[in-house]
Assembly symmetry: D3
Homo-oligomer: 242 residues x 6
C-alpha cells in the first residue's frame, strides 16, 4: 500500500491559487499535497541575444528551493555561489515544457521568465512547477492581451506534468517523498492536452525497468495529466477559454 493510503492511480490533492503575489504578470501557488511551489511569470520586452532580430519570443525558467523547504536544511545556492546540477536540470526541463505550450512567433520579441520557488517539498517539485507555471504563463499572456500587445493568443495548448514510478513493485502515480525516496523507478512525464508527449524522463533508481512497466507508468501519467489540466482549467474558469 502507498504510505499516504492513496490508490495507485490517485493524485494528491491539487490546488492552484492564482494572483498569489501582487507584482508578477502571472503568479500562482501550486500545491500537489504538501509540495508547494510559487510560480511567478514575468514579461520583459527583450529577448536573449541568440534571438535578437529573429521576430520571435522566448520562454525560460528558473527554479529554486528555499533552504528549509526540505526535511534537512540545504545550503542556499546564492550563498554557495552556484546553482547545482539538479537545479539546472530542472529549470531547463521547465523551460522546454512551457515553450512547447507557446507559439513563440505570436509572442513577439519578448521573454517570459518563469520563477518556480519551492517553499515546501514533499516529492514532485518539478512536475508541480510545470503544472503551476503553465497557469502563470497563461495569466501573463492574458495580461499582454488585455494591454493589446498581442494580435493573437500565443497559447498552443495546455501542458501539465506528473511523476510516476514503480514503488514496491507497483506502478503508482504522483509520488510523494516517502515513495520517491524508495522507488525502484522514477519517471517524469510532460504532456499536452491532446495527449502528445513533451518530455519523458525515466530513471531506474535501483533495478532496471521493463517496457511493460514503462507502458503502465505512461498510462498512469496520461490519466493523471488529464486531471491536472482539468485543475488548471478550473483555476482559470471565467478568465480564459481558448
Amino acid at each position: 500500500m502507498r504510505p499516504s493510503g492513496r490508490t495507485p492511480d490517485q493524485l494528491r490533492e491539487v490546488t492552484i491559487t492564482r494572483n498569489y503575489t501582487k507584482h508578477a504578470e502571472g503568479s500562482v501557488l501550486v500545491a500537489f499535497g504538501d509540495t508547494k511551489v510559487i510560480c511567478n511569470a514575468t514579461v520583459e520586452e527583450n529577448v536573449p541575444r541568440f534571438l535578437k532580430g529573429a521576430g520571435k519570443g522566448w520562454v525560460t525558467a528558473e527554479y529554486g528551493m528555499l533552504p528549509r523547504s526540505t526535511g534537512e536544511r540545504m545550503a542556499r545556492e546564492a550563498s554557495r555561489g552556484k546553482q547545482g546540477g539538479r537545479t539546472l536540470e530542472i529549470q531547463r526541463l521547465i523551460g522546454r515544457s512551457l515553450r512547447a505550450a507557446v507559439d513563440l512567433t505570436k509572442l513577439g520579441e519578448r521573454t517570459i521568465y518563469v520563477d518556480c520557488d519551492v517553499i515546501q517539498a514533499d516529492g514532485g517539485t518539478r512536475t508541480a512547477s510545470i503544472t503551476g507555471a503553465m497557469v502563470a504563463v497563461i495569466d501573463a499572456l492574458q495580461t499582454l492581451q488585455q494591454k493589446k500587445l498581442l494580435a493573437t493568443d500565443p497559447l498552443l495548448h495546455f501542458v501539465a506534468a506528473v511523476s510516476v514510478g514503480v514503488y514496491q513493485g507497483v506502478p503508482v502515480l504522483d509520488l510523494d517523498y516517502a515513495e520517491d525516496s524508495n522507488a525502484q523507478t522514477d519517471m517524469n512525464v510532460v504532456m499536452n492536452e491532446e495527449g502528445g508527449l513533451i518530455e519523458v524522463q525515466g530513471t531506474a533508481e535501483d533495478t532496471a525497468f521493463t517496457r511493460q512497466e514503462m507502458n503502465q507508468m505512461l498510462d498512469l501519467a496520461e490519466a493523471g495529466i488529464q486531471q491536472l489540466i482539468a485543475c488548471q482549467r478550473d483555476a482559470l474558469a471565467g478568465v480564459f477559454m481558448p
Copy 2:
C-alpha cells in the same frame, strides 16, 4: 499625507502566522502590510569553526528575495553566482539582532540558522524579517525544550524591528515602498522589549537629518516596536510565556 492614508505613527497591518511550512523547527510567515517574508528557523547540532569547543552556540541568518517579489524582476542571486552587498548587509543585521535575544551559552553547542525569504516586497523587508524571525527562533527554542535538549530557556527577551523615516518633512513609522523610495531619511531600529537599543541604522537619502528629527524617529520606533512585540506575544499565546 501618507500614500496609504495612515497617520505618521501608525504601523501597517501586521500578521504573524506560525507553522507556515512543515519541516522547519520554527516557521513563520510575517506580513507588514503587503511585505511578506517566510522566516524559517533550523536547529543544527554543530557550531561554526570559530566556536568549536567554546561551549556556546550561534544564531545566524540568511536573506533572499524571490526574483519577482519586487515590481520589476531582479536577477536571481543563485544564478548570478553571488549575493549582493545589500543582501549580505541585511543578513548580517538580522543575525546580530537575533543573537541579542538569545543567551548563546544556554543554547549549547548548536546553531540556529534563520532563513528569511521575501515572497512579496513593499518596503521594510529587513525589519519584517527580524520581527518574524524572532518568533521562528522562539518556536525553535521551544522545540529544543520539548525534546529536553535544553536545561534552561536561552531566550533573553523579545526583539523586534521597524523602519522610520522622514517623508515630505514629517517623521513617519513603518514606511511602505511608496514612502521609502521618496524618503529624505530612512532609519531601521531594532530594540528589545525593555526598550534597549540593539541596532540603529539611519541614512540620509537626500538631505542630512537633524538630531531633533533623529529623536522624533526614535520615539516613533520605540512605540512601534512595543506594538510589534505585542503582536509577537499574541502569535505565541498559549504556547510560551517567559
Copy 3:
C-alpha cells in the same frame, strides 16, 4: 532519407579502442561515426563524504567538450569559470548509467571517476560516452582484480546507450548532428544487456510525440543497444568474459 544514407535502424560505424592513453586504469577512445570521445576511468581509494563508513563505493562521471570539438568554437568552461547546465545534466546521466552496471558494495570503499572528453562532436556524444565509459570502467575493475584488491567482480552487467529520434516523420536510430539538429523528437536510451531500461529521456523538439512513436523509438534503441554491447564485448575479447 537520412543525410548519411543509413537505413532507419542502422548505427553509425562504432569503434572502441582500449588503452588509448597510458596513465588511466581504464582508457577508451570511442567513436560513433565522427563523434569521438576519450573515456578515462580512474580508481581512487576514497569515497565521497556522504558514503564515508558505509562500506560501499561510488562511480561518478565528468564530461567536457574540447572548445573546437564542434562546428563553431565554444567557450572553454574552465575559462568561463563554470560548467553549463547541459554539461552537468550529461555528466549526471553518465554517472547514474554506470552505477547501474556496478555492485557498489562489491567495489568496496573506493571511487571510480570517469572522465568523458569529447574531441570531435557529430551528435550523440552522451550515448557514445556511456558506451565507451562502460568499457573503461570494466578495464578499471580488471586492474583492481589483477591487483587482488577485489574479492569478487563488481560488474553486474554491460550497459550501453544510444539516441533515437523522429526525423522527417520517420523513427531513426543513432542520430548524427545533421539529423539531431532537425529532429522533431530526440530520445536517449540507456539499457543493460538483459534489455532492462536504465534511463529514457525523450524530448519533443518541435512537435509532441505519440505513444506509438515512442514505442517505435524504443524498439530501435533496444536493437541498437544489443549491437553496441556486442561491440563492447568484441573490444574486450580475450580479456574478460563474465
Copy 4:
C-alpha cells in the same frame, strides 16, 4: 581609563597627507593614530548603466585591507574570489557618505571611484576612510576644475566620520582596536560641516544601549567630526576654500 590614556572626548592624532601617490586625481594617506588608509580618487568619463543619459554623475567607493594590515593575517579577498560581507557593507557606506558631499548634477556625466586601502588597521578604518577620501575627492574635483571641465564646483560641503562607543560603561570617541574589540556599543557617525547627520550606525555588541547613551555618543561624535573637518581644511589650506 582608556588603554591609550586618552580622555573620553579625545581623538587620536590625525594626519592627512595629500598627493600620496602620483597617478590618482586625488591621493591621500590618512592616519587616525595607527590606523592608516590610502584613499585614491579616480575620475572616469563615464557613468554606471543606470545613470546613462541622466545628465548627472556618480561617486562610488571600494574598500580593501592588505592581508597583513591586521594582527593576524587575513586571507586576500582577490585570492578567495570574493569580497566579504563586511567589505561590501563598508564600501557601500563610504560611497553613500561621499555622494552626500557632492552635487552629482554639477559633476556631469562622470564617475569618481574612490579606493580606500587599509595598510595598517587599529580600529576605525571605515571612518578614517571616509574622512581621508573626502579630501581625495576634493582634490579630484579641483583637478577637474583646473582642466576647465566643470562649470561650477560640485562640492556641497565637507563630510567626515568618526566612531564612538561605550567602553567600560563610558561613552568614548574614536575607538582604537583595544577598545573596539571590547566595547559594549559601537557606533559610526557621518556628518557634514553644518552638523547634519548623514549616517548613524549603532550596534549593541554585548548589551543594549539606552537613548541617553546614544545621545552622549552623538554629542561626542559631533564635536569629533568638527575637529576632523578642521584637519581636512588644514590639509587643503591654500588650495581650496569654498
Copy 5:
C-alpha cells in the same frame, strides 16, 4: 644516463599529425614521445575589445589538460571553477610565442584562437603545444588564403619550442617527466627559424645555475629547435612553403 637511454642532445620521437579533427581551421595532434597534445586553431571574424578599430588581428591561446592525462588524476578546472596559475601562465606563453610568428596587421581584424589540450602528459607539454600549434596556425592561415580573405601571407617565420635542463649535472634536451621531476634546472626556450630568441624561461629547481650551464642549455635548445622546425616543415610538405 637519461632514463630513456637518449643522448643529452637527443629529442624524443616527434610526430605532427595534421587534420586531426574535422571542424577546426587547423587541427594538429603533436607528440613529443609520450606527451600528446591536440592543437586546434579557430579563426573568428572579430578582435578583442582593446584592438577594435586598430586595423590588426590577434592570436591567443588556451591550454588545458584532461584530468587523467597525468599519473594521478587532477581535478577538472571547469569543475573547480577556475583555471590554475600554471594553466594561465602556460597559455599566456603559448599566445605570446605564436604572435611572434604572425604579422598581425596582415592578418586583418580577426582572431586566431588556439586550443592546446593535453591528452597524455610526459613532460614538455608547453613546448609541444607551441610546436604543434604553430602548424595548426599555419593551416588556419592557409584556409584564410584559400578563401581569398588575405591579401598576403601573415606568417613571419616558423616558431618552435623545446625544454632543456640540467639533469644529474648534465645539460640535456627535451626532458621527459622522469627527468623533469628530478632536474636541478628547467628551461623552456622558444625560437624562430632564424635562430632569434622569442622566450627564455629558466628556473632553478634545486640549486642555482651558472652562466656556463645556461649557455650549454641554450646551445642544446638551438639545435633542438632547428630539428623541430624541420619536423614542422615535413608535416606541411606539399602544402605550404614560404
Copy 6:
C-alpha cells in the same frame, strides 16, 4: 638616451624601509624609483596540505596592485572575483625566488606568507617585490630566532631581482614604465649573492633577441643584482649578518 637620463647600467634610486607596518613579522617598503611596494612577511605555524608531516616548511607569496597604482585605474581583483593571469604568474615567481633563499628543512613545519602590494607602479614591480620581500623574510626569520623557535638560521643566501631589456637597440638595466612599454625585449633576472641564477624570464616584445643581446642583458643584471644585495645588507645593517 634613456627617458630618465640614466646610463644603460644605472639602477634607479633604491630604498628599503624596514618595519613599515607594525603587525607583520617582517614589513618592508621597497622603492625602485617611483615603483613602491609594501612587502609583508607573516609566519604561521602550519604548512600546506602537501607538506603535512614532511618535517619541512614553506615560503609562498601573494601579489596585488592597488587599483590606482597605475596611470589608469585597473579593476580591483577582489571585486572582479578572481586574480588575473599576470598576478598569478608574478606571485608564483616571487614564491619560487624566495624559496631558493631559505632552507625549508631548517624552517620547520611553518609557512612564511609574503604579501607584495604595489602602491605605486612605474615598471619593475615584480623585481622590486622580490628584492624587498627578501628583507621582509629575513626579518621574519630573525623574529623566529629571537623567539628561540629555530635551532639554526634557515637563510641560505640573499636573493635579489632586476629587470633588463633592450631599449632602442641598447641593453639597459632596471627599466621604468616609459622604457618597459617600448622595449624590444624585456627580461627579469633573479640571482643569489654568489652569482647563481635562480630565474631568467626573457620575452621578445617586438623582435626576437640574439644570444649576444641576452649575454649583455645578463651582464647588466648580474652587476645590478650585486648592488641590490648591497642595498639589502645596508637596510639590515646592525641587525643581521650571516
